[in-house]
């Protein structure tokens, strides 16, 4: 009995409290925030869509529980917009570059979640920024966030005793850190994928696997760029009589749109949708893949293959529906332990990589 308990304890000790430099949390912070800021600037520029509309409508748009805890004015009051924009992008730059790293990452993640919340309160829940916001919030307290930062650079420059014989690259990569922070981000990603698959079975049932739902999204029916009525609210054909009291129909939910404008990708989607067997195969593959999200919690090739699969899935949805979820793709790419992958490649491939990166000799785990 003691042995089993000891084994469990050893497993958890190793799983959460072993140390590694890779994947590097500081590098994830830097690149994820850079992409996030670019996307926010591309979509919202100077955030003027998040200001107060009028008191009557603002009163209907309520913050989520998390944002409610901070007792912030909701939404942004017009007179504070300039201040908010300056604070948002400054916090973003500081968090990205790593100046007062943890404080600026915390402020930026809360401000990001705050604007997502305003958008959600007005009707559109942004799945992409939500995961980014949560990952950044987690980064405020996990080990390794300070790697690849200006703070580290200054410390490296000033603290000769601590960083004697340490190159710039080694200082940026940092010392091996407890990996529980990395595992926490993986748990967030695993929950995201697993619940996505689960919701298809929960709300669509096994019928979802027949491929008809995907066919609807790919055959032009959900495209606002093709002619004809595009009603978005739906209900199944067998609504119970007691559910029809509001309108005689009983409406269950709304559907989404396919906003791909490229004629090439639209016709590719149409061609795929023309084959019911292929759509059935894709639907089943997507649900099985998403339900296997917990594979992210296992070490080794299963995690690497899952993350590459997730990138391929997001790229495909990006091409076919103009929903690329770039930050998910970037996060998946950065969550791959490339150092581990390198160590498990054949000698030949290792030599090729050594030649390519001979100037950058990375420290071991």
């Amino acid at each position: 009995m003691n042995t089993i308990s000891q084994q469990k304890s050893n497993f958890f000790e190793r799983y959460f409290f072993s140390k590694s430099r890779y994947p590097n949390i500081g590098l994830i912070r830097l690149l994820l925030i850079a992409l996030c800021m670019l996307q926010v600037f591309r979509n919202y520029r100077f955030l003027d869509v998040f200001v107060s509309i009028d008191p009557v409508r603002d009163a209907l748009h309520l913050p989520s529980t998390l944002i409610g805890l901070f007792h912030l004015p909701f939404p942004i009051q017009k007179e504070y917009l300039s201040l908010f924009v300056i604070a948002f992008y400054t916090a973003g730059f500081f968090a990205m570059l790593g100046i007062f790293t943890r404080v600026s990452v915390f402020i930026f993640s809360i401000m990001l979640l705050y604007i997502i919340d305003i958008q959600a309160a007005r009707g559109v829940f942004d799945h992409e920024y939500t995961l980014t916001g949560l990952v950044l919030l987690v980064m405020t307290f996990i080990p390794g966030t300070g790697n690849f930062s200006v703070d580290r650079f200054i410390s490296w420059k000033r603290n000769k005793a601590k960083y004697s014989n340490t190159s710039f690259l080694e200082a940026m990569i940092g010392n091996p850190e407890y990996i529980w922070g990395y595992k926490l981000i993986l748990i967030l990603a695993a929950c995201t994928y697993f619940t996505s698959g689960l919701s298809k079975i929960r709300w669509g049932g096994l019928a979802w696997l027949d491929g008809q739902t995907l066919t609807y999204y790919l055959d032009g029916s959900a495209s606002p760029f093709t002619p004809g009525e595009k009603p978005m609210f739906i209900s199944p054909p067998n609504v119970k009589e007691e559910e029809k009291w509001k309108d005689g129909f009983g409406i269950y939910s709304y559907s989404y749109g396919n906003r791909q404008q490229s004629p090439f990708w639209r016709s590719t989607g149409n061609a795929l949708a023309a084959s019911p067997k292929l759509m059935m195969f894709i639907a089943a593959s997507v649900v099985i893949f998403e339900l296997l999200g917990f594979l992210l919690l296992f070490e080794g090739w299963s995690r690497v293959i899952y993350l590459i699969g997730a990138i391929i899935m997001h790229r495909s949805i990006g091409f076919l529906m103009n929903l690329p979820f770039l930050s998910f793709q970037l996060l998946c790419f950065l969550l791959i332990d490339w150092h581990w992958v390198y160590q498990h490649l054949g000698k030949r491939l290792q030599l090729m990589i050594d030649k390519l990166f001979k100037r950058f000799k990375l420290p071991a785990n």
């Binding site: 919202y44 709300w203 049932g205 009603p231 209900s235 009291w245 509001k246 269950y252």
Partner: protein, 128 residues
């Protein structure tokens, strides 16, 4: 996302608002607030928070033991807030219809859900 099943027999709907005065009527839309997603956001907001799903424990917003009175109250607040540009049309009312389509977007039938009285800021649910 994309969890709800859509098949050949799925029914589709759209909500339409009409400003009605005497014998004339004109289709109108909720007041926009601009921005990237405004039009689609208002439709989703309306469904998630005001109209709400009839499905039990819906991820799109549902209200336990919802009834006619609660429904009318929510609708009154929504119309008061989202049709402020028609506040001056006190001799008119706003009718809400739901249009039903098949999977191919072909119109099947429509039902009138009720009317919003601009003067009293009240929504009256008229469907049976």
């Amino acid at each position: 996302m994309f969890g709800h099943y859509i098949g050949k027999e799925t029914n589709f709907y759209d909500f339409k608002y009409f400003l009605v005065k005497d014998t004339s009527e004109q289709e109108i839309y909720p007041d926009s607030y601009g921005g990237f997603f405004s039009k689609i956001a208002i439709k989703r907001y309306f469904f998630n928070n005001v109209y709400v799903s009839v499905e039990k424990i819906s991820p799109f917003g549902y209200i336990k033991n919802d009834n006619k009175e609660m429904f009318e109250n929510r609708m009154s607040r929504f119309f008061t807030a989202y049709f402020q540009s028609h506040n001056q049309d006190t001799t008119s009312k706003i009718r809400l219809d739901v249009y039903n389509y098949n999977r191919n977007g072909e119109f099947k039938q429509k039902h009138t859900i009720g009317y919003y009285d601009i003067t009293n800021h009240n929504f009256i649910h008229t469907w049976k």
